[in-house]
């Protein structure tokens, strides 16, 4: 059984008098441990699909099942709890809390657990260490570079050890070197820790890190051949 199963998923938005349907009757399976890359032009619905997988949006039709949980149904409180335990989200911008240090930002998802403070701190330090930023633990986001902020965001996404990491154009606002570091990190999480990565990008180079590439256009998915990197 796949980790992620989408069946007949449709999502529509109403903007004024117009209805836009970025996803129409979409079927998709993603296996555990894949580095799945979703390509497509701006406005094609990539982020919409990612949000559906992460349970922060709901489909108008069809079902989204992740790890056996139908994330298109259920109360928002239950979905929030599910997200906290099973999904790590890396946004296009790091979206760190500016008043908290890197260590505290990484620790945040653990505030939702019953772990004692010492253990939370230890795990946050481990996650920061995994992204190579332990020495920046006490820094505020404004004291970090864009690439470092995004690596802190990745540490935040993995700290609760979720099986799925979704990343929405994680290198979109980074320079080449920083982007490369972030992509290498995501690939390592996939190969070394067995995490399932679903990454949205419109950058061909970033896409080359994926193990499976799919293009989303006009509401439909088409497989793209993976070019050797």
């Amino acid at each position: 059984m796949s980790l992620i199963e989408l069946r007949g998923v449709t999502r529509r938005y109403t903007k004024g008098e117009h209805t836009v349907a970025p996803l129409v009757d979409v079927d998709l399976d993603i296996e555990a441990g894949e580095f799945f890359v979703l390509l497509g032009p701006s406005g094609s619905g990539k982020t919409t699909l990612l949000n559906l997988l992460a349970g922060i949006d709901r489909p108008d039709g069809g079902s989204v099942v992740v790890g056996g949980t139908d994330v298109g149904a259920g109360r928002s409180k239950d979905l929030a709890r599910w997200r906290a335990a099973h999904v790590g989200y890396v946004f296009q911008r790091a979206n760190l809390v500016p008043v908290l240090t890197a260590q505290e930002n990484v620790e945040m998802p653990l505030w939702l657990t019953d772990l004692p403070a010492k253990e939370r701190s230890r795990r946050a330090a481990l996650a920061l260490s995994a992204v190579g930023l332990l020495e920046r633990a006490a820094h505020l986001p404004k004291q970090l570079s864009g690439g470092q902020e995004q690596r802190v965001a990745i540490a935040r996404a993995i700290v609760a050890d979720p099986e799925l990491i979704v990343a929405d154009e994680p290198t979109g606002s980074l320079d080449g070197e920083s982007a490369e570091a972030v992509l290498r990190l995501l690939a390592r999480l996939c190969t070394e820790r067995g995490k399932t990565i679903v990454m949205v990008t419109h950058d061909q180079h970033a896409a080359s890190y994926g193990t499976r590439l799919v293009r989303l256009e006009k509401g439909q998915l088409t497989a793209v051949e993976v070019a050797p990197r």
Binding site: T47, T48, N51, A54, I56, D57, S76, K77, A80, R81, W82, R83, A84, A85, Y89, F91, N95, V97, P98, V99, L100, E104, M108, P109, W111, L112, T113, D114, R156
Partner: protein, 379 residues
């Protein structure tokens, strides 16, 4: 589990100007609420404080409860004492609104003057001599709030100073206090002396203190039998309750003002919480995406509001205590003190914190309806 308290605390430092302005407005609200509570309580206490359950008043029937309009025959006190069982002490008094001139001040001022016998000090328990001696002929005993009520410098009414009462010079023999009662804004002088000055052979009222265990039925019987005296009987509590009723519109006005302040504070709180949500819309959406519930985010906002409200309330209450406590409010023929006491402070604290908390409720609705996906895309 939810967001840490530190998160709420640190958020207060994000917009220092807004935080300071919100704290100052909370302080003002707390101070204004204390002021209103102290005013209303002072007003109520100035009458209820003077009421005594074992004291009754005999007035003329036509006066309809107004001591200044009342006229009873001289010697009524002795008559009551001799004929009514269960009466311990009687105080026959003349109450007059007189013109008083204080040297050094411009023109005559109206003041309440009470002509009393030594028995008055046995009937009016609240009255305490604080300085000087009881008045003899040509002397007056001045209440603690009289200077305030007459708007004169208190030093002009110091013991030994002279004032002119209805054209006759009087020396201030002493001062008295009657905490929390309207009596404090009066001056007392010997009954016979005031009768002479005012050319009034009668009395205004007779206060009768009942013996322990006695009730006013015997007095009522006396009033009912002696129709020739045309008397009416009021208990002290009834009398002061009637007086308090005259000032009910002022009290209502003060309450309305407090309600308006509370309304404005509530809207201010709503605005602050709404601004906090709007400023951090993407961050809040991120937190929701990470798994924090609407309730957790609201609790954090509420912590911020209550923290700020507490700090503001503390400032406001301290300022109120410092500047208002012991202050007096002047009315047409009286004055009363503002008591910034425990209940007034507690009321203002609870109201300020409740308003801060209530102000975050619309934000809760906003957070509940927050479209996470759309908010994450906000700039």
């Amino acid at each position: 589990m939810g967001l840490s308290f530190d998160y709420a605390l640190l958020n207060l430092g994000r917009r220092p100007t807004r935080t300071v302005l919100t704290a100052v407005s909370s302080a003002l609200v707390a101070a204004l609420l204390v002021c209103t509570a102290a005013f209303v309580r002072g007003l109520e206490q100035s009458f209820t404080g003077a009421a005594q359950p074992d004291v009754a008043l005999l007035l003329s029937r036509v006066a309809e409860g107004d001591v200044l309009r009342s006229s009873v025959q001289a010697g009524l006190g002795a008559l009551v004492r001799a004929n009514v069982p269960g009466v311990a002490v009687v105080s026959e008094e003349v109450h007059l609104a007189c013109n008083v001139t204080v040297p050094g001040s411009d023109g005559a001022r109206a003041a309440m003057v009470r002509g009393v016998t030594p028995a008055a000090y046995q009937v009016h328990d609240a009255v305490t001599l604080t300085e000087g001696t009881l008045p003899g002929p040509g002397e007056v005993l001045v209440g603690r709030l009289l200077a305030r009520q007459m708007r004169v410098d208190p030093s002009r009414l110091a013991v030994g100073e002279t004032l002119v009462l209805e054209g006759a010079k009087h020396r201030v023999s002493g001062h008295f206090a009657a905490p929390g009662t309207a009596i404090e804004a009066e001056m007392w002088t010997p009954l016979e002396a005031l009768r002479g000055i005012a050319r009034r052979p009668d009395a205004s009222v007779v206060f009768a203190r009942l013996e322990p265990g006695a009730d006013a039925r015997a007095l009522q019987l006396f009033v009912d039998r002696r129709l020739d005296l045309e008397l009416s009987l009021l208990t002290s509590e009834q009398y002061y309750a009637d007086l308090a009723r005259y000032l009910a519109p002022i009290r209502a006005l003060a309450m309305a003002m407090a309600a308006l302040i509370a309304g404005a504070a509530f809207l201010g709180g709503v605005n602050t919480a709404a601004a906090a949500v709007q400023d951090r819309i993407r961050e809040l959406a991120t937190l929701r995406a990470l798994g924090f519930s609407t309730g957790a985010l609201w609790r954090s906002l509420a912590q911020e509001a209550v923290l700020l409200g507490s700090f503001g309330a503390l400032l406001g209450l301290a300022a109120a205590r410092l500047f208002l406590d012991g202050g007096a409010v002047r009315l047409a023929m009286g004055a009363f003190t503002l008591g910034v006491d425990g209940p007034a402070l507690a009321l203002a604290t609870v109201a300020t914190l409740a308003l801060a908390l209530l102000g975050t409720l619309p934000a809760l609705l906003r957070l509940h309806r927050l479209p996470i996906a759309a908010a994450l895309a906000e700039d």
